[in-house]
Symmetry: C2
Subunit: 338 residues, 2 copies
């Protein structure tokens, strides 16, 4: 174990002051070209790298952004985490990833985060108590809810899709295909995504003088969705069960398709049309060809990065709420031939 070289070591070797070394590594600081090159030479010889921890202590900027995630089995999130990391890296920020197991855990995690003086926090599909949200705001740490809507009037930003419009699109597509008995398999009852998708879906059905034929809850989990599908499609008589179903996300929709085909012997789309939400990569796989409402992950990430940088630079910036457009991707599961 070799002790790393410090700015003092470099200063000594270069024959300059420690301040000069520090200035060499501070963009925009005034250092003579001659001094700078002496410092760089010495730094190279010693393998010097500025200690980011010491810098953070004094500047109060860690250049780290915490991302709190959970449910990585939902295929939408790994991709988001990857792209989000890359996006922040482009701006010189690093991602400190936290996995929250239960929803209640987010608060405890956040408290730990604050000890690390992260510059900002992105909550992927997680919520946090208003107490913690206020602590973050008080500490000047921007918080962005990703794929969740923040309560109005708060200090917390949010970036989400127009889930309500997505729900309407799903209903419109199924109605246009002539379906009359249409079911809905819900995600988490208390999530804003589920609430808004279902509201849009029901509103569009109502606009056609119809209402949902059956409704079960899958809690956004694979197993939950299998159960929900069994409950909804157990009727032996075809007229007793939906001929189409809107599932609150693709992760569940795939489980539903498996259950319909494998367990219940029903064909998709001939016996039951299925439409999901997210347009995860797996929706395009040949084994499913799942129609879906696409969330624009790229735009969501760009909006997140933009808001984060704005809020880090301007602490008094007001909370922003971004809602992005979605679009229908039709595939085989609703009868579109590829």
């Amino acid at each position: 174990m070799v002790k790393a070289a410090t700015s003092i070591d470099v200063a000594k070797l270069a024959g300059v002051s420690q301040s000069a070394v520090s200035r060499t590594y501070t963009p925009g600081a005034s250092v003579a070209e001659h001094t700078r090159s002496k410092v760089m030479d010495a730094a190279r010889k010693l393998g010097y790298r500025p200690n980011a921890i010491a810098r953070t202590l004094i500047t109060r900027k860690s250049r780290m952004i915490a991302v709190v995630a959970s449910y990585l089995d939902n295929q939408f999130y790994p991709v988001v985490i990857e792209k989000l990391s890359q996006r922040f890296q482009e701006d010189g920020y690093h991602v400190l990833l936290f996995i929250a197991e239960a929803r209640t855990e987010a608060d405890e995690l956040l408290m730990q985060l604050m000890q690390y003086h992260v510059d900002g926090i992105v909550l992927l599909s997680a919520t946090l108590s208003s107490g913690i949200a206020k602590d973050c705001a008080d500490a000047g740490i921007p918080v962005i809810l990703f794929n969740r809507i923040a309560q109005a009037g708060g200090t917390v930003n949010s970036v989400a899709s127009d889930n309500e419009a997505g729900g309407r699109m799903a209903a419109k597509a199924l109605l246009a295909a002539g379906h009359v008995r249409i079911g809905y398999i819900a995600g988490m009852e208390d999530s804003s995504t589920n609430r808004d998708r279902e509201a849009g879906f029901n509103a569009e059905l109502a606009a056609s003088g119809k209402r949902v034929f059956a409704r079960t809850v899958g809690h956004y989990s694979f197993e939950g969705a299998q159960l929900a599908a069994r409950q909804m499609f157990q009727a032996v008589d075809a007229a007793q069960r939906p001929s189409a179903v809107f599932v609150a996300n693709d992760h569940m929709a795939i489980a539903v398709m498996d259950t319909l085909r494998g367990e219940l012997g029903l064909r998709v789309p001939q016996d039951v049309a299925v439409i999901g939400f997210d347009n995860v990569p797996q929706a395009a796989w040949g084994g499913y060809s799942l129609s879906s409402i696409e969330q624009d992950a790229h735009a969501m990430i760009e909006a997140t990065a933009r808001i984060m940088l704005e809020q880090i630079q301007n602490e008094s910036a007001l909370a922003q709420h971004v809602s992005l457009s979605v679009r229908l991707i039709e595939r085989g599961s609703t009868g579109k031939t590829p």
Copy 2:
């Protein structure tokens, strides 16, 4: 923006020295019960939390472990990242996640990591130059290669599956099913996983007096695998193409199945049997029912955590190399009826 309370603020309010506050938060330090409770009361009133950055500066322990990943579209990794994070969190460590885009980028990333004084580094399916590996060793930072084998004699630890045994199992399963024309779709040519899986596969074929009938390369990517499948199965005459194929991982195997069925009109397993590697969750999906060689992700994660903690606590510990058993999971893609 309210300035966070420091140990000095707490000390003043509690009427004790700053040292006493620090000791209260240092497990094992000697503080009178009376003093401790005065400190805790004051801390509660001020919402005090020790500053982890300042602590890191002086203790040289950040309790952060860097995880460098890439290829999150391979479904094996998100699950590993999630479980690994949770596992380290149990021991009071946090994961700093870095996404390496190209393989060459890992070195640059590592240099940045060292500035944050992470306590350890896990490289998920990435390699690093021997120069950087030495820098880490010199700095006393343990490095673990996950799902890769380290070069012998180095200072870098590794945790991987017995890929060679896995390759043999795949060959054995296909031979046992009576296949004669057996193909192999390779991953990255220069990866240890591909090398070992292929070596075991070929060795087992050779043991039966056979050799691989066709070989193409999919580079561990979805698109690469589609291309590799087209190349291998373009022959119109069934006798000209393999009746079974071992694909170097599940991520590619799923792409191969899509190409076989969707594009080439071949049935799995009737026309072509397919076997993959990893046993990702998606392999069990009804749309694929993919036979696979299962990597024991749980055991890999436990081994990684154990080695990491050992090496953090004992800097002079020697590099360890763990190889974990794999097992065959037979499903529909090799003719097993579920």
